[in-house]
Symmetry: D2
């Protein structure tokens, strides 16, 4: 099991004005990422606004993704819902629809202990024979996957890896150290503005949302790190940090989630990758002034001409 590694963006889900998935645009997003050199794609994650989609749409998105990706890179699929059995259902659908691995969070809405989280992942893995990745995202589920939880699940073979979006890079480092003797374990970070750091620590993969806008930047950063050129890695990361400022352009007027993914979609529309920057209800789309500010950032970081 060494097929997972590298830059694996969480794929933005473009919408039509009626909130259905805009599949022609979605296809272009996937092609943009694969042609940009990404080593995998992660669909139906938080950046994909998975939580807004009903069961039928989720299955269609997976099937469409599998058809477009067509084995060129691994297809990793989020199976995110509040409780164990509902996640098991999604994992089963994902496996049948062509997922190479599935990604589950801790339970949410309910308040959960670490012991319950351990069992949650074990029940999922027992129920569906598909590689399982744990997703640590306290900002959404309001509980942290503690170091010992992750390490136990990985050592016993329940999970093949971790997507760490907790922002706790010290804890991520300890997971890397604790599991250094486990060659098949796959630890990736969602801390997209310190990817050079994560790679210096030995991270196996990175999951940057902003790679939807600029996959080439993260691939260059990955390649620089692979050849040990940390100065180049840092320089590329710093340019990407300036690009990442698009996520705050609408903050204050709309919620952080709407501002961040709205920023991605607005930039992707400006770059001609998708047709609409529609946001799912009740999130508001960015307005004209915010779009203009995003275009300025795209120009300043070399992505938009004129």
């Amino acid at each position: 099991m060494t097929k997972f590694k590298g830059v694996i963006p969480p794929v933005v889900t473009p919408l039509n004005a009626d909130f259905t998935v805009d599949y022609p645009s979605y296809t272009r997003v996937l092609e943009h990422l694969i042609e940009g050199g990404c080593h995998g794609v992660f669909v139906l994650g938080s950046t994909s606004e998975v939580i807004f989609h009903d069961d039928k749409t989720r299955r269609e998105i997976i099937e469409h993704s599998a058809k477009v990706v067509n084995g060129r890179v691994p297809l990793i699929v989020g199976v995110i819902d509040p409780t164990t059995d509902r996640v098991i259902h999604h994992a089963d659908v994902a496996k049948r629809a062509g997922a190479d691995a599935v990604v589950a969070t801790a339970p949410f809405y309910t308040v959960t202990s670490q012991a319950e989280i351990l069992d949650h992942f074990r029940f999922i893995r027992d129920a569906v024979d598909v590689p399982l990745v744990a997703y640590d995202i306290p900002v959404c589920v309001h509980v942290k996957l503690q170091r010992q939880t992750t390490v136990t699940l990985a050592r016993e073979g329940t999970i093949i890896g971790l997507k760490d979006s907790s922002g706790d890079d010290g804890n991520f480092r300890y997971a890397l150290l604790d599991l250094a003797d486990q060659p098949d374990v796959f630890l990736m970070t969602g801390s997209e503005i310190v990817v050079d750091n994560a790679l210096l620590m030995g991270a196996h993969g990175v999951v940057p949302g902003i790679a939807n806008v600029d996959p080439h930047g993260y691939v260059r950063l990955w390649d620089a790190a692979q050849r040990g050129d940390w100065v180049a890695a840092r320089k590329e990361q710093e340019r990407l940090c300036r690009l990442f400022e698009i996520v705050w352009v609408a903050q204050g007027r709309v919620s952080g989630g709407a501002s961040g993914i709205g920023g991605f979609k607005t930039a992707m529309k400006s770059l001609g990758i998708i047709d609409n920057a529609v946001m799912p209800r009740p999130r508001a789309a960015l307005d004209e002034a915010e779009t203009a500010r995003i275009n300025e950032i795209l120009r300043a970081t070399g992505l938009l001409r004129g």
Copy 2:
């Protein structure tokens, strides 16, 4: 619209060993509550472990509830899921299956602003023509319905009422004061250990989980308050507070959610109301020692003989 008022317990959902709903036990729970004098029932709330049930089970629970209740008291139905359109789907199903009103929380998993929460409830109400109650439960959704949000939604007619499980009784009082001129608005509290207080403040309804164990106590408390006998109301509430200690018996060994609802189920089994105290995965059921301790509390509060 004055049909909603009084003691409206969130109905516990008994399970079989295979995690399916134990409908014979469930019927007994509903009869226990209605015969106990409750003025309504709230099914598919947090205490009902709604978030563990899939769409098909939710519909069956509503339909079964409607058949058993048969118009004797109002049937209020939780339509709880992370995002607007998924809630709209549940509200539509609930309406068709016989709900007198539906109860929705703020969005969760996503991080949401108060402006988005306002729109969330408006979209739900616009989509489904059924009375809508806002459910303020920050411990689960990690955002508070601010006073102005509730008041705006009530004044414009988007919601008919509020179920306040935030524990912020000062804020609840301001909602009561701000909406005192709205005779149709229905404000109920989930703060089940200070129900005498809530009624003194003028609350229209109370939603005590522990009423699954002892409905008569809360009905006595309600009646005492209605006749202005606050000393009796307090005395009854204090007995119920001693009963409420069952929710902490297993705390530490299992999570707070598992300990609380597990405590309810264990007590209900001891009292012969339900057949099993099975908990949905990954929650663990209470063990023998914990059950013995719960039985002691039932005896001390006069609910169990011997």
Copy 3:
């Protein structure tokens, strides 16, 4: 030990333009409270902005208070600082300067366990022979005095009582129930907008900041509760809730702390109780528009004429 009970406001500390204490105004505040019928005064609490004062000023405030109060009502003194030995120093000073009891919080700045909190209060009580009250104020110290902590300290005689400003009225009720067999224990609430509730639950005292503005209202509320007239108690509390809205007038422009105590001071200046509404650095004072809004509220609640 039954001398502590009733309405015991936390005394606002008026300042001169140079940030020294305005003692003539301060004297008038104390007289206003005592003449208004208050049963005690709590100086150097959070509302007194104790944390802004240096050691010398604290001692002067206590000595001045003792002289003005002159035994007419109990003088309770806050001894608030981050760590045990610094609190012991303040307690010793307070005792010598005439305090009838001292009030200490859990340690802050440091992260503390409940076991350390227990020892913290024991060390204080062992070091200084003065009645000690525990102050539960998580919004300032970021740790809650758990029910068991309070009950243990009261039962063993370390503390004579509690000032509960946690807003967790359910927990406060359990403290009342758990300590109902301890006639000398004195439990008071800082939840000033639900004082009728606290008294219905059996609270022995109340510590309302807004009583600096309107002591008579809280005394009427207390008296109504003592004679069991809960309808009158509620009605008085509701008027006080409308008055309490002054604490939010400046919120948004300044921090919550500055808005709240700034609101008190501004109202007290409008009512002629103090000469200046100066706030300690870096808190900003309320501006003209905010003052006008506060005066409107004072008129609407019957405190200001014209």
Copy 4:
């Protein structure tokens, strides 16, 4: 102003059994750090347990430190207390006692806005003419110094730098980027388990508590980073991460603060640097089993023989 840079440990304050400062041990700690190659010392920080010391002891500690350090490296002094004017007093004392710079946090105990935090630092700087460093430590003061707050204070010359102990390394990176054109600004991190990362991002200094136990390790790490040998830097950091595990040995039995600094003191005693591992009240010292476990870690990381 380029004299501040490099490894600047927060100096542990050893105590006698009677809780007074053990100055002979303290002198050895300072010598251990300076002889170990550290580029500065930071006394009276959180690791120094500053918040436990009274004014007199603080002054003595600064004076003693100045005498021992004697200009060999910069002496940076924490001036930590809840409110502006109390901090100003400490800053004035520190300046007179020989501090090269002072370090202040945001206000605490009070709830503070970013605007008030800006003014807080401005008032300090206006009052005392000594270089001022902002200390971002939300775990203690419960508010974050936002990126714009730090950048504004640095650009206007109020602060000469930042000690970032927030754990938010992404935000720290933005501070580095935003202030890259300010050659005199000095940005240091307290994230002691990812120091290689911070240096790769361009941090000017690091403030590792565990350097009290092993200064040579951090100096080697710093030197590796200076010559661009990131592989060696990472390897040294990983060894130090294994050493850092001493901070969790007593966790659970005692609070996190007691476990962490207690771990440092216990290790330093085992290594013969200090005579006692006494903790200030109400913190408990580590017990024998915990000490044995710490000695194992010291052996495993090459610091203790036998």
